[in-house]
Symmetry: C2
Subunit: 130 residues, 2 copies
């Protein structure tokens, strides 16, 4: 139970994506499954990366941005010279994620208020709080 690789279909079922999507990500160099002849075999590393890709997408990052971030998780393989650049990129990304979270918190609070307001209207009260 060490070289647990998955076929493209197993990947699709596991992550709810289409084969087209996986091949597309590979073309964009986000994934690099092993080839057994022609067939693709996805390793644990590929699964980890895909998970990060899908998460990144939910946060509104482009595939290109995600590609650059993914390098951080493979930092062992990298040249020293590259690492510093990647770290800068990651720190920037981290900043914008923190900002995004703060904004998100604010938006959640606002929306919560608006819903309460709407529920009030439904309950027959007027908009005037007094």
């Amino acid at each position: 139970m060490s070289e647990q690789t998955m076929t493209i279909r197993e990947m699709c079922d596991a992550f709810d994506v289409t084969p087209r999507t996986l091949r597309f990500y590979e073309a964009k160099e986000l994934l690099s499954p092993i080839r057994a002849g022609q067939k693709r075999h996805y390793t644990r590393r590929d699964r980890g990366r895909l998970k990060l890709i899908l998460r990144g997408k939910r946060f509104g990052f482009s595939l290109e941005e995600i590609r650059q971030l993914l390098d951080l998780y493979d930092i062992d393989d990298q040249q020293q010279t590259q690492i510093s650049r990647t770290l800068d990129l990651a720190r920037n990304r981290l900043d914008s994620m923190r900002q995004q979270r703060d904004e998100l918190d604010a938006a959640i609070a606002e929306l919560t208020d608006q819903i309460a307001l709407g529920e009030g209207v439904l309950a027959g009260k007027t908009t005037q709080t007094a």
Copy 2:
């Protein structure tokens, strides 16, 4: 200082968007500036909506999703029958925003760890913590 309306250019400068974008949003019925002859005049309401639109975009919502959410902030103008539907939509959206925030928190934590790891590598330590 009550009917503070803005021209399209003032809007563009204030929100850092192009005229094309504002006209596009209008075509999609996200904005509805007053017309003085042909010219558009953006009211306080338009500015509020645009702010919400841009925020929504940063969270990865589509313009169509945003359009439906915007209705919640104009709930006074609506039919009772519509309000309930809009509220449901808003509650769903709120749920997914909360989920998104939790995920974002997790991602921030992970990325923070990875950065620390990378910094360790730069400092000359090996990946092996022991």
